[in-house]
């Protein structure tokens, strides 16, 4: 619905403001829902009393509310870290998806092309099969190995695709797909010989945030923040890169440097997410497209909005995973794929072309 005149710009601004406001409200609502709902039911008032207890000024509001130690423990030691981890993982995957799609100008790019997640998976599985309980500089071996696997894969793919001085996007994508397939095969091979660790490996690979605790959240948070800040700093460069690498160079973007930094930052996000929560599909693919449909391709809006929506969706999916067959749990990766894939197909059908990727001839 093209509007004419100078009012159009104002409308775009209002639209962006509305988007952010509703995303933040939605995030708060999802967080409360996720804390209240579960195998052990907790009244909303108790949850609020616990969560708002640091604000002493508000204590008067919850005078009559009784909170048992068990409830307090469930909220603060189980559900809250789990919600936060889900939020960080969801935000990281969505952010990485937005970056890969923009950088490679490919609507199908997500954290799993380029082999980043396969590399991380290989590292994680290798760690699990060789003991998996080692502690190393504050990490258990699994996340550390996953991180090493993910970042060294992207480095390998990047240098494999080098043609002279430049790294063409097409070559990068194709090398990523090839390396990814190769590493996945090795992961399958390792799984085949997993023996008594099979259950752990398979469950991890299905993806989920069930083992969340505060130390994991604290270990992940710096990576997520560093990754987000690096990427957001280059939001304008990402916009220019959408015009094509050659044009971006002509417009003064140091494309090779920007690409390395952004790829490294995005891979950091993916490795952190995969190492703690396994393979969670479709969040990174669908979320950036939803945001683009709402407000267009400008990365200065797209990046924070994708992070917010990714967090919301993964918290919601995890809450669903905990409650569908309570007290048992489903791996959240199953939920995201089962909801995400049809949603994506629906979008494809409805929009014919995804906004910003005018792939039709």
């Amino acid at each position: 619905m093209p509007l004419k005149g100078s009012g159009k710009k104002k409308i775009a601004r209002i639209r962006r403001g509305t988007l952010f406001l509703s995303l933040i409200l939605l995030l708060l609502a999802t967080v409360f829902a996720a804390i209240v709902l579960g195998a052990a039911s907790i009244p909303l008032k108790s949850a609020l009393a616990v969560l708002l207890s640091p604000f002493t000024g508000l204590n008067g509001l919850f005078k009559g509310v009784e909170v048992t130690e068990v409830q307090r423990g469930i909220i603060l030691q189980l559900r809250l870290p789990r919600v936060i981890q889900a939020a960080i993982v969801g935000a990281s995957l969505s952010l990485a998806g937005a970056v890969y799609q923009g950088l490679f100008r490919n609507p199908m790019a997500d954290p799993y092309v380029l082999g980043v997640s396969s590399g991380a998976a290989l590292g994680a599985v290798a760690a699990m099969l060789t003991g998996g309980t080692l502690l190393f500089a504050g990490f258990t071996a699994v996340p550390l190995f996953a991180f090493i696997g993910g970042t060294s894969t992207i480095a390998l793919v990047y240098y494999m695709s080098r043609v002279g001085k430049f790294v063409p996007v097409m070559t990068l994508l194709l090398s990523g797909i090839a390396v990814s397939a190769f590493l996945s095969a090795i992961v399958s091979l390792l799984t085949y010989f997993a023996g008594e660790n099979l259950h752990q490996v398979v469950f991890w690979m299905m993806g989920g945030v069930s083992g969340a605790n505060w130390s994991r959240v604290v270990a992940m948070l710096p990576y997520a923040l560093i990754g987000f800040c690096c990427i957001y700093y280059y939001a304008r460069e990402l916009n220019v890169l959408l015009l094509g690498e050659e044009t971006a160079r002509h417009l003064g973007v140091n494309t090779e440097r920007v690409k390395i930094i952004i790829l490294a930052a995005a891979s950091l996000l993916v490795a952190a997410a995969v190492s703690t929560s396994g393979i969670i599909g479709f969040v990174g693919l669908v979320v950036p497209h939803l945001i683009r449909i709402a407000v267009g391709p400008d990365h200065r809006v797209l990046l924070p909005a994708s992070a917010l929506l990714g967090a919301i969706l993964l918290i919601a999916a995890d809450t669903l995973a905990r409650n569908i067959i309570a007290p048992a749990e489903l791996p959240v990766g199953i939920i995201t794929s089962m909801v995400g894939a049809p949603m994506f197909i629906y979008l494809l059908k409805k929009r014919k072309k995804l906004r910003y990727f005018n792939t039709g001839g």
Binding site: V240, L243, R249, H250, L251, T255, R292, G296, N358
Partner: protein, 422 residues
């Protein structure tokens, strides 16, 4: 704002095949150069080497004496803007957002400098006429609109050197002219150095004063239109015979190709049995000459002077023509030659030329030929207005009518007459 560009020994190879082979030239600031050459001569490659989009195998490019390699991407983007050939857009930015990206190289530290980016963007959109489309999605633009959008973006960069690769390829003639006019104004008013790869040689001579002609990755010629656009150079680079002449209206050199490849083909089957002689030349004779030639008749023409457009037509199409010295009456010798040519023809056509004392003898010659049985066709429209002989010409034409000569009003009727009497 003008930039001195020096290209020194530039070579680039793909799979050991040289695309550019030792390119050397130097442009003083403020020049406007058309880069000519056939497909595959290396025009785009040369432009991409200059803009650092490609890394040359050998050689160096200097901007104001500084090696291009030592400039950062930002420094380069503030000096040099590129309008590339392929401007495909596959994202959903608005036109204005795309154009605003031309300001990207200036954003750093611009708060201190207080540059009014929006005003520059607005002016660029205004100049290129894209302003009404600024809120449209860039992906929905037509080829020509996209070209103007990309051009506006280049203007936002406030370049000292503007590289254009086939800037007019997607544009209709109106916008071709408009775009090159803007480029010319930038060059004249702001001293922007311009290099434009361009296919339309005749458009190039209208706007450019300097030319580089590439062939097989080498500079074949470099200089003014007269130095570069010669029949030898066009044959050597484009591989076609061409006629070079000055445009009758603006006097710039014009290149008309196809002399060699077109006329022998069309001469086939043009025997004397279908020969039509056309009397006189000028703008009045050209339409009927062209129509007859197109229909496959063989032609002869005359008498005309060397400056006459009919003479050029005869020369280009290689048909018999009688030449008469300029500003002189028909001599006896010419008269006889003319008569001979008419006798060799099946028909004689008299186009709607004007009659004066100088060419009255042509009518007498025609009368002679008609008397000997050669059929004539006369454009009989407004004869009185064309007669500057005090009625003599009208008199002769009156007699023609009595002799059964066919009178017509336009070229189609001539063709009909010839067809019906074949």
């Amino acid at each position: 704002m003008s930039l001195n560009l020096k290209v020194h020994g530039l070579s680039i190879e793909y799979d050991s095949a040289a695309i550019l082979d030792g390119i050397n030239f130097e442009l003083q600031g403020g020049e406007m150069v058309a880069l000519l050459g056939p497909n595959g001569a290396g025009k785009s490659t040369l432009l991409r080497c200059i803009s650092k989009a490609l890394e040359p195998t050998k050689g160096t490019v200097f901007f104001n004496g500084r090696e291009a390699g030592s400039l950062t991407a930002g420094e380069l983007a503030r000096q040099l803007a590129v309008v590339p050939q392929d401007t495909g857009v596959d994202f959903d930015f608005t036109v204005e957002e795309v154009i605003r990206m031309g300001r990207f190289p200036y954003y750093k530290g611009s708060r201190k400098n207080k540059i009014n980016h929006e005003a520059i963007v607005h002016t660029a959109m205004e100049i290129t006429g894209i302003l009404p489309l600024r809120h449209r999605s860039a992906a929905t633009l037509s080829g020509g609109e996209r070209q103007r959008m990309v051009f506006a973006r280049a203007l936002c960069q406030e370049p000292e050197l503007l590289l254009l690769d086939e800037p007019t390829a997607n544009l209709d003639i109106g916008y071709q002219w408009e775009l090159l006019d803007i480029v010319q104004r930038l060059n004249r008013e702001k001293g922007v150095t311009v290099i434009a790869a361009i296919h339309d040689l005749n458009l190039a001579t209208l706007f450019f004063r300097q030319f580089i002609l590439l062939a097989d990755g080498k500079v074949l010629a470099f200089g003014s239109a007269d130095e570069v656009l010669t029949e030898e150079n066009i044959l050597a680079s484009y591989g076609v015979q061409a006629s070079i002449f000055r445009h009758p209206l603006h006097g710039r050199l014009q290149v008309s190709v196809g002399k060699d490849s077109m006329s022998p083909l069309q001469k086939k089957g043009r025997g004397r049995e279908k020969r039509v002689h056309v009397i006189g030349g000028g703008q009045e004779a050209l339409p009927v000459l062209e129509a007859l030639w197109e229909k496959g008749y063989s032609l002869s023409l005359g008498p005309v002077s060397r400056e006459d457009s009919g003479y050029n037509f005869a020369h280009f199409s290689d048909i018999p023509v009688i030449e008469n010295p300029p500003f002189s009456s028909i001599s006896d010798e010419t008269y006889q030659e003319h008569l001979k040519l008419m006798h060799e023809s099946k028909w004689i056509v008299l186009p709607p030329i004007s009659f004066g004392e100088g060419n009255l003898r042509n009518l007498e010659a025609m009368a002679d030929a008609i008397a000997q049985g050669i059929p004539g066709i006369v454009f009989g429209d407004k004869v009185e207005e064309r007669d500057f002989t005090g009625g003599k010409a009208v008199g002769i034409l009156e007699r023609f009518k009595e002799q059964g000569v066919l009178f017509v009003n336009n070229t189609e009727e001539v063709l009909d007459c010839l067809k019906n009497n074949e």
